[in-house]
Symmetry: C2
Subunit: 254 residues, 2 copies
């Protein structure tokens, strides 16, 4: 890393994920925060902007001088109606990419989602690899797939680096059977983000989950290409599912 810290813009920084990343990456980078509507009572960083990402002229100034963007802003609910995902995740996505390109931003990390592939999950068609054809389970997932494709285009056409993270379930601790395979801990996502920002990957789509022993989604690419070394595993926080993995324990000498 150079002596000067990289300028990193976090969009949607008031959300659950944005708040955690701000706390965990604030020492490593020179952060700028973007809030879509309201500013938290005590913003964790002085450099912030308030802008609706669906308004190009409002969001464009946030890109000036930025090295990388962690793009979290958008409609986050997989149950959202078309009008909401359309505004935030289609028009808003275009505005962020286009204004970032014009400002010369080097790299965008995009908060995509497992819902892009959710129909494989409903069919329990596991394992899932990131490069399989997309099968969204919702209009939300359709618009996040759009965001990934837009990034592919901006990479191919303009050389901008784009890394799509298909985020699992971002939670402090895993709480149920679904979290067992899809949990993403705050520290593991923070690690994925800094590794991605500092990697030599031009473009890629990666599942972003912790090192869950019971995972159904491939993270080999995240390990090999990004150097990801997850520190958490949902199974360590939950009752055993299949019993002890070393099933011969206790039988030695019998």
């Amino acid at each position: 890393m150079s002596a000067t810290k990289r300028k990193v813009l976090i969009t949607g920084a008031a959300g659950r994920i944005g708040t955690e990343l701000t706390r965990r990456l604030g020492d490593r980078y020179d952060l700028r925060l973007h809030f879509n509507r309201t500013v938290p009572d005590q913003p964790l960083v002085d450099d912030y902007v308030v802008a609706n990402i669906a308004d190009y002229d409002a969001i464009a100034p946030a890109m000036e001088g930025v090295d990388s963007i962690i793009h979290l802003a958008g409609q986050p609910s997989w149950r959202a109606e078309w009008a909401d995902v359309h505004e935030a995740n289609v028009q808003g996505q275009f505005n962020v990419y286009e204004s970032a390109r014009k400002a010369g931003v080097r790299r965008i990390l995009f908060a995509s989602t497992n819902h892009v592939m959710g129909m494989y999950d409903r069919d329990t068609a596991w394992p899932i690899y990131a490069d399989q054809p997309v099968r969204p389970d919702s209009l939300y997932g359709v618009t996040k797939a759009f965001g990934e494709t837009l990034g592919r285009h901006y990479h191919d056409r303009y050389g901008m680096s784009v890394i799509n993270f298909r985020i699992g379930w971002f939670l402090e601790k895993p709480e149920d059977e679904i979290a067992r395979y899809m949990w993403l801990s705050p520290r593991d996502f923070a690690q994925l983000c800094w590794r991605a920002i500092e990697s030599d990957v031009g473009y890629g789509t990666f599942y972003a989950i912790s090192g869950n022993s019971s995972r159904n989604w491939d993270i080999t690419d995240s390990i090999v290409r990004l150097g990801y070394r997850p520190e958490d595993d949902a199974d360590e926080h939950m009752p055993p599912k299949y019993g002890h993995a070393s099933f011969n324990d206790g039988q030695a000498g019998s």
Copy 2:
């Protein structure tokens, strides 16, 4: 085929492709034509509607009583600006799928495009198979990829049958080297459409080109799953590229 002809809606029927399909499929189906703005002087079919597909309430009534849709309407230029492709190919696409679903339409054939994969072509990364990850060469291509993904979702979620055609270069006759590999003749596309309408395929994405000897895109799926038997080959209309394929001709007995 039942004694009663299927009701087939052609959207964007005033365009080049729409006009040809109307002529060629008018005997086989009970057609309804959709025109986005202007009605041709002499519409080829009495049953027609005029509606902007970006206006949900305007387009929805066109779906009533329809068995299948050949969905051609949209912004057709790969050089189009975001505002144009966004309105016609994102909002318009959603309106067509959502209103078709509500009206109980059985199947949609979607006029997608080779531009969804255009960056492979620019890299001459051939052959291209339809199920590779998308790499659009333009915002137009990005929005057509969105249309394919939306169809995947409507198939998975609601059981609607969706067939995406990645149309090559629809021309009366091939005219240059690019057409040699990407030509789609009017009669071959008409055949693809009726085979798709009458097939048992629930969902699929297919390259729509003629049986060009110099093709770079896979049409095996079109042949096997849809029963496509192309009648045209661009090489038959153009000067030889590599000389005669049977290069031993004339050497026999030498």
